[in-house]
């Protein structure tokens, strides 16, 4: 079974003329790490919200097409029920804290309480996710006393505790300092290793190039390209879509270092190093 199937998805927000999502179609396999890139208003966040059902259930508006997540049709299932299959982490770590719980431990329990889990199951899950995301030592702290990076990890932990098979992250590091961003990327990497499907919107191209199995390039609500990072970042028209390639790809393009078999540029330091030391591949 595919983790995500999106077929000809079209969506327009209420009181607007322009389609925020226009004929979007793609599929994601279980356990894949997908990076979504594109400039502002490309439709990235709207797509994330469509995957978890906030579009159309929360925002309303004109909706067409089909989204199936973990075998569940989004249109015929409400947001709370979809949360068992897919979770989302938003940009702002401060607004993801419920503000109704006094400790980190209780905060993670919020979703589990809503779904009626037994206490023993809750404790097992909370202990596991707090340790996985390096938050166990802060379990008795008030969530508002955490740093931005810790708070974002708490938001991820709260979602992971509900054991969704897919996690969507909408620019989770955009409001964090470099240290906080690194904490989040490490956490996401460990989730990916656990076999959870990751769909992540991100502006830090080096990180996307490093972690993603596939990259989706979006512009004005449409999917322009969807494939391996090397394929998407090697596009000559990338900058016309408001996207800067990773720094290693830019350098490789200038020095014309590319894989002669595929004609694609490297996207990570490791790929570049490999191409540079294997002379026959160097163009």
């Amino acid at each position: 079974m595919k983790a995500v199937v999106v077929e000809n998805l079209k969506y327009r927000y209420p009181s607007t003329e322009r389609l925020a999502l226009d004929s979007v179609s793609f599929e994601v396999e279980q356990g894949e790490f997908i990076g979504i890139i594109g400039k502002n208003l490309a439709g990235k966040s709207t797509l994330c919200e469509a995957l978890v059902g906030l579009v159309p259930h929360f925002y309303k508006g004109a909706y067409g097409g089909r989204v199936v997540v973990d075998g569940v049709e989004v249109l015929s299932s409400d947001v709370s029920e979809l949360a068992r299959h897919i979770g989302i982490v938003f940009q702002n770590p401060f607004t993801q804290v419920t503000a109704a719980k006094l400790t980190v431990y209780e905060e993670v329990a919020f979703g589990l309480e809503n779904f009626g889990f037994e206490r023993s199951e809750m404790v097992d899950r909370i202990d596991y996710v707090l340790k996985l995301l390096g938050l166990y030592e802060y379990k008795d702290r008030n969530p508002f006393e955490l740093s931005g990076g810790q708070m974002q990890r708490l938001a991820i932990a709260s979602i992971i505790a509900m054991k969704p098979s897919i996690i969507v992250l909408d620019e989770p590091t955009s409001q964090l300092d470099p240290l906080g961003s690194e904490e989040v990327f490490k956490a996401v990497q460990s989730l990916s290793k656990e076999g959870i499907t990751i769909i992540m919107v991100e502006q830090k191209m080096e990180k996307i190039a490093q972690y993603a199995d596939k990259v989706m390039l979006m512009n004005e609500g449409r999917v322009i390209d969807f494939g391996a990072p090397e394929k998407v970042f090697s596009r000559s028209d990338l900058e016309t879509y408001g996207v800067e390639p990773p720094v290693f790809t830019s350098i490789a393009k200038r020095l014309n270092i590319k894989d002669n078999d595929t004609g694609l540029y490297p996207v990570t330091l490791e790929q570049m190093r490999r191409l540079m030391i294997s002379e026959p591949h160097r163009s």
Partner: protein, 258 residues
């Protein structure tokens, strides 16, 4: 960083461990008996004494003193106004700085003061010895809407957060030359450029938080559970029945003996 607006004081006493519903019942009885059923000053004084003993035992009495200090101003004004100007004043009791205080007014003021202190101390017992989340959990278990329960519990943390946000916005506006200190007129003028960003950012944050709650199953159908299930104490039942018995006895006394 703003903290939660909670007055709860952690201590290892039976008062902190009691079912919050028993404390709510105590408040109800501490109001009903001396106000309605047995409206005598000594009954109110007994409840004040009982609340004080419980507050002392729960090691929270020092936290009551600021509340008492605040109410002291109100109580003094009650004594002055009633002692001097109550319509039924006839018997002069004491004269201070040429002003005659009357016995009837002073006794009525004493009744009011006892009632104010009675209510204040009974509520202080609940607020200072009960974790807000435990109180709300107890109410939700007894049928309060989880949505209303959320509003109650989040208010304790959202209000300090909003206040810290107002400070940030005020700093931002100040850095752009807005004068926020000085005469009343200057401060009033500064209020207008502050209110827009505060309201807008609060609305946006509320929407984002609503989405974050939804994706964590806030509206999920089915029975909710709680991480911390309070173990019911034998003392809960004993005190609950003792309070109900005191209510019944006072009612019987009201309609038979007195």
């Amino acid at each position: 960083m703003a903290r939660a607006l909670s007055l709860y004081v952690e201590a290892d006493t039976f008062v902190q461990k009691l079912d919050p519903m028993v404390k709510l019942l105590y408040i109800l009885i501490a109001i009903l008996i001396p106000f309605v059923i047995l409206p005598f000053r000594w009954v109110g004084a007994v409840f004040i004494l009982l609340s004080c003993v419980l507050l002392l035992y729960a090691k929270v009495f020092p936290r009551v003193l600021p509340l008492l200090g605040f109410s002291f101003l109100i109580l003094i004004s009650i004594v002055i106004i009633q002692g001097l100007f109550m319509p039924g004043n006839k018997t002069p009791a004491v004269e201070i700085f040429g002003l005659t205080f009357y016995k009837e007014g002073l006794l009525y003021a004493l009744t009011l003061c006892i009632r104010v202190l009675d209510v204040l101390l009974a509520f202080a017992l609940l607020v200072l010895t009960t974790r807000p989340s435990d109180l709300i959990q107890s109410l939700v278990k007894r049928g309060l809407s989880p949505r209303f329960g959320y509003v109650l519990s989040s208010a304790l943390q959202v209000i300090p957060q909003m206040m810290s946000q107002v400070d940030s916005i005020m700093d931002a506006q100040r850095s752009r030359g807005l004068e926020t200190e000085g005469s009343l007129w200057v401060r009033l003028k500064a209020f207008i450029p502050l209110i827009g960003p505060v309201v807008m950012s609060s609305l946006l944050e509320t929407r984002e938080r609503a989405m974050a709650l939804e994706v964590r199953g806030f509206s999920a159908s089915g029975k909710k559970t709680f991480l911390y299930e309070r173990e019911p104490l034998v003392l809960d039942k004993i005190l609950q029945w003792a309070l109900i018995a005191s209510l019944v006895i006072s009612l019987v006394a009201r309609f038979t003996v007195l």
